[in-house]
Symmetry: C2
């Protein structure tokens, strides 16, 4: 028998969460190995042996190591017995379409979402300054990707990508990506997402289809969201007080 699957993740990373949710949903027996990016665990020699690219997520299955989240999801769906076909259909046409969304994702939705969030909120936690110009460029890519989701990828009879009636690994990957927008300021998040009604419904449907695992794996993000909200309201309060004082002075 093969050794138990090891899954190397930081739950703050959205592709890490997608892998964890997939394993839980499908009853895959695995050990979660935490690689804390903020403590630079991904640069350790032990982890570098599993993933020489020093990124999470990665897996070790017996002596087979693998990285890149889409490749991992496709592998898990194929290598473990009894995974429902809708996750990564064996039908050559349906599988090709799912590969097509997954490929599109990299330079579009993922590029836009990651760079927007890093340059507006998460950067400092990863040792990078916020960059409003880069955020504005990322927002353009993000909005264009959302409109492609709304008008193209979510077309069809079913509630999931490509008009499917049940979710695939693409739904899981893309919805985990979008869920990181939770850490944004509420106003920003609304401005970005609210025009895309089908996208909003699809996020809700994918969560519902993958709960309670979806919420469990996102708890860390929901906590981070609260922390960032509190920081923002402290900053806002200080700014109001300062501006009141200035206002007071100017009336003198």
């Amino acid at each position: 028998m093969m050794e138990k699957l090891k899954v190397y993740v930081d739950r703050m990373s959205q592709p890490s969460r997608a892998i964890l949710i997939f394993c839980r949903l499908n009853g895959i027996d695995f050990e979660e190995v935490q690689i804390d990016l903020s403590k630079r665990h991904h640069l350790s020699p032990q982890f570098t042996e599993v993933n020489p690219l020093q990124k999470v997520p990665a897996i070790l299955h017996g002596n087979f190591n693998l990285f890149e989240s889409h490749a991992i999801l496709a592998y898990l769906a194929s290598a473990f017995p009894g995974i429902a076909d809708h996750w990564y259909p064996t039908d050559v046409f349906r599988r090709a379409k799912i590969n097509s969304v997954l490929d599109w994702h990299h330079s579009n939705l993922r590029y836009g979402a990651v760079n927007y969030v890093i340059n507006t909120v998460l950067g400092p936690a990863l040792g990078r300054p916020l960059n409003p110009k880069a955020a504005a460029e990322a927002e353009k890519v993000l909005l264009s990707s959302l409109s492609k989701l709304e008008d193209i990828w979510l077309n069809g009879d079913g509630r999931f990508l490509l008009g499917a009636f049940q979710p695939s690994i693409a739904d899981l990957s893309l919805v985990c990506e979008l869920t990181q927008l939770e850490v944004l300021d509420e106003k920003d998040r609304d401005r970005i997402l609210s025009p895309y009604k089908k996208v909003l419904r699809w996020i809700k449907d994918t969560k519902a289809a993958t709960n309670p695992h979806f919420d469990e794996m996102h708890n860390i993000l929901y906590r981070a969201k609260k922390k960032f909200q509190q920081q923002r309201s402290r900053v806002a309060k200080t700014e109001t007080e300062t501006s009141n004082e200035i206002g007071g002075h100017s009336k003198m």
Copy 2:
């Protein structure tokens, strides 16, 4: 019988060339439909029906349309009979590793190479100004990707990616991407590629394994290379003459 495969391409696009080479190499009977990006054919209503994202390459196989070059390559390798297994192995482990390189490619080698070439040479032909700052950022990603290729992806006994003894769709995709560097100024190209000896050998080996189709599909690029060289030497000549004149004056 299914209708003949239609392949929508602009041979100036590197993923288009990869698809064409794959079809020729594997004796796939297809019709090449030219979508001239410089004439904005990709925005036509007819092509938008095939690919609503309005990008090349795309295929139409009977009434099945597909876009994103990696998804297309995987589809062709699976849907057509008699394609040699090494292109996209059915073995779950080998396939997973190839998917892993293909996924990595998007935000690394492709991102770096495309943005470097567009911001140093090709931009104006596509209606975009050259941008030295964006070129410098792209170069960083490109160099980092080349070193990952050299130290990680090209490790192993064989001459191809992942130590394989025969090429896969990943070799084809990545080498086509790198071959676009041909249009660069010779000095830039040397500076970028010459430190990576394994990469250089692998490019040569992949060309050899896929010729004469590789060179045939790249003829358009080799012609563009000459054109850009002539432009550069005209500019250099004018600059030398101008600087000689200035030199002459300063000696007076």
